[in-house]
């Protein structure tokens, strides 16, 4: 057993860390989000040059054939820097779902990998994610074509996407269709999330789609694999964010003085910091262990559910404690602490909440 990164992965982490330290400091990030831009063109381009946009795709699709552990190596760094670029949205979710179309994914997939186009996966609904039977969006036959109806929530990068990959219930199966966001009957409402990412609500009303755009008519297992990859990367982001919070909060407690002593010397604070460290260690351990399981092809859906649930619980606990230790200053928009908390809350809620995943684990 070995849970360390390879030298190549260490190099990747290192260069990504350097890039983000230069181009994505907290102040630069905040200025970017304030500008209303959905992504930073120079950063997006640089991520492309480092190969990150190609990383998770098979070589036969024009990608680099990256392993789950490569994604985790990058996700940790992304989380530490609170990256709001559409990497998760367009590469890990949209792009990977697009790639399920095989040869038909081209030439759009090549554009996604080149950073010239974005795609989004429209999968979550009001109840989050769940079994096909719970899905409200439907795909039905309409003459030679098919008809799409329903509403998708939290479509990451949905308003910026050149194409939407939409999951829908077709009979008792899960189908995937590719939809042009400007097609008649498609209504996209974009917004910024509390953690700086962009998302959209997308409504489909009697959207008529050529049958050739149905990518797959029985895609549940394939889509689960895409989501598993995204959840793993998201979990790495959570651990990266927790690590950053732990460091920040630890050094704040060492320097902030009240009653003539550092606040970290009060037992209530020291124990809180100790609990934060334990939470971070648990999260990191489970992340790396689950990564190894996935890489070995040994992970069950329960393992992934368990990981997501723990990231939600531990991330929230670390974020809330970080604010409490900082006191008043932790409640301000100026400090990164609150932005990490918001990122962790968003991670907790998306792609199945903690409640959802815990119940899957508990029900067996």
């Amino acid at each position: 057993m070995d849970f360390s990164f390879t030298p190549e992965q260490d190099m990747l982490r290192d260069s990504l860390g350097k890039l983000l330290a230069q181009t994505y400091s907290f102040d630069q990030r905040q200025a970017l989000l304030k500008s209303g831009a959905a992504r930073s063109e120079p950063v997006w381009q640089a991520l492309g040059e480092m190969g990150l946009l190609a990383l998770p795709f098979a070589e036969s699709d024009g990608g680099l054939g990256g392993q789950p552990s490569d994604l985790v190596a990058c996700g940790l760094v992304m989380g530490r820097h609170l990256v709001a670029e559409p990497w998760l949205a367009s590469v890990l979710l949209g792009g990977k779902a697009l790639a399920l179309g095989g040869a038909r994914a081209q030439p759009l997939l090549a554009d996604v990998i080149a950073g010239n186009a974005q795609v989004a996966l429209a999968h979550e609904e009001r109840h989050g994610i769940g079994p096909v039977t719970a899905m409200g969006t439907t795909l039905t036959l309409n003459g030679d074509a098919v008809q799409l109806d329903g509403e998708k929530k939290l479509v990451l990068g949905g308003a910026e996407a050149n194409a939407l990959i939409v999951s829908a219930r077709a009979g008792d199966k899960l189908a995937l269709v590719r939809v042009d966001p400007s097609a008649p009957g498609v209504a996209v409402t974009g917004y910024s999330m509390i953690d700086g990412r962009r998302a959209a609500t997308v409504r489909f009303e009697h959207v008529i789609i050529p049958a050739a755009q149905v990518m797959r008519d029985d895609a549940e297992a394939a889509l689960d694999a895409v989501i598993e990859n995204a959840l793993l990367t998201l979990s790495a982001e959570a651990v990266g964010a927790m690590g950053a919070l732990l460091e920040m909060t630890g050094s704040y407690a060492a320097t902030r003085k009240q009653f003539g002593v550092p606040i970290g010397s009060f037992q209530a604070m020291a124990h809180r910091l100790a609990d934060m460290k334990i939470a971070w260690a648990k999260a990191q351990a489970l992340l790396l262990y689950t990564t190894a399981l996935i890489e070995a092809g040994q992970a069950s859906p329960r393992d992934v559910a368990l990981l997501k649930a723990q990231m939600g619980r531990l991330g929230r606990a670390v974020g809330e404690s970080a604010v409490q230790v900082h006191g008043g200053i932790g409640m301000t928009d100026e400090l990164a602490v609150g932005h990490y908390l918001k990122r962790l809350l968003a991670i907790e809620a998306m792609l199945g909440s903690t409640d959802y995943h815990l119940r899957r684990v508990g029900a067996r």
């Binding site: 609904e125 917004y191 009653f259 301000t332 928009d333 100026e334 998306m350 409640d355």
Partner: protein, 401 residues
Amino acid sequence: MDISFGPELESFRAEVAAFLDCAPTPDIREAGRKTTSVFAPFESVMAWQKILHAKGWVAPGWPAQYGGTGWSVEQRYIFAEEYFKRDLPPLLPNGLQMVGPLLIDLGSEEQKAKYLPGILSGEDYWTQGYSEPNAGSDLAALSCAAVADGDDYIINGQKIWTTLAHKANRMFMLVRTSTEGKKQQGITFLLLDRTDYPGMEIRPIIGLDGIPEQCEVFFDNVRVPQTARVGAENDGWSVAKALLRHERGGSAGSPAMYRKLELIRVTAQGTPSPFGGMVADDPVFQRDIGELEADIASHAAFEKLVISGHPLSHDPAMPSMNKVMSSELAQRVSVLMTRVAGTEALPLQLEALNIGSNVAALGQELELVAMPYYLNSRATTIYAGTNEVQRDLIARTLPAA
């Protein structure tokens, strides 16, 4: 022991309900539904205070001779229940629950005559200038200084976290008037008639929810009359301690919590669960909201005992116990809210939260307020003395300490 729920109380309830059904304007109702911190949207809630004042119902907790309602404990609870049932914005606490009761206790007759009417009517809003960058939990370390000069004081220094200073027209504050002896002994309590004295500068601070609520206040040779003082010079610490009892204890916060619980239930009835059916039918949700309701019920009973003058109200730990209970319950309510709202709590919707913006929320109303309410509730265990400090104070009332 006696709880009277006689028929005269039911007619009181009907009277309250009739008034609250028609007196608030649509703007005030909207502000109530969009209240996401302990501080309701300023302009709307001050307009509402004026209406309540005209009715004579603005200060149920005050002695009748100073403008209180003279209601019984039961009546006060009924009023609060009917109030929050309608999602009306809670009146801002600084005047009515802090400086007002303090002046009734410790102010000079002149000060009472000068300030109480404006506090009641909502003509004046008072901001609290205690905390400083280096004096938070260790408030007595404050260094913003006032030096006597003729009949005046000249103030130099800085305050921070001064809630709504950018909206207030008056300020009560603590200043250092002596550096001799124990640090608590050189503090003086002042009432500022203005927040725009020459040399005063106010800079708002943006909070986690993206909205400015707290402020920094800078004093550069600000001259105020010495008549602004409450109590003696260098005796401000005991004045502040008297005020803290009002700030932390003797509240009726549970009706608002019950109301939020009800809103969560109603929203859960219309929110689909990934396990089929609605979230409200989910046994896990039912168990969790049941647990929260049980804790709110304990807190409600505690509040009633305190208001009724039960010996518990004289327990030296009462204000701190009340503060810990109410703050942590508010946080738990806010967490359950975000759980029910789920991913619908994630869009940033600053415009839709603005009163009168006419920007529709993306989802239901609870989903709009859940996240800002959750974020602002993180502050409840920090302000008015952090919960770590409160637990120390509670522990000190036990023999082991």
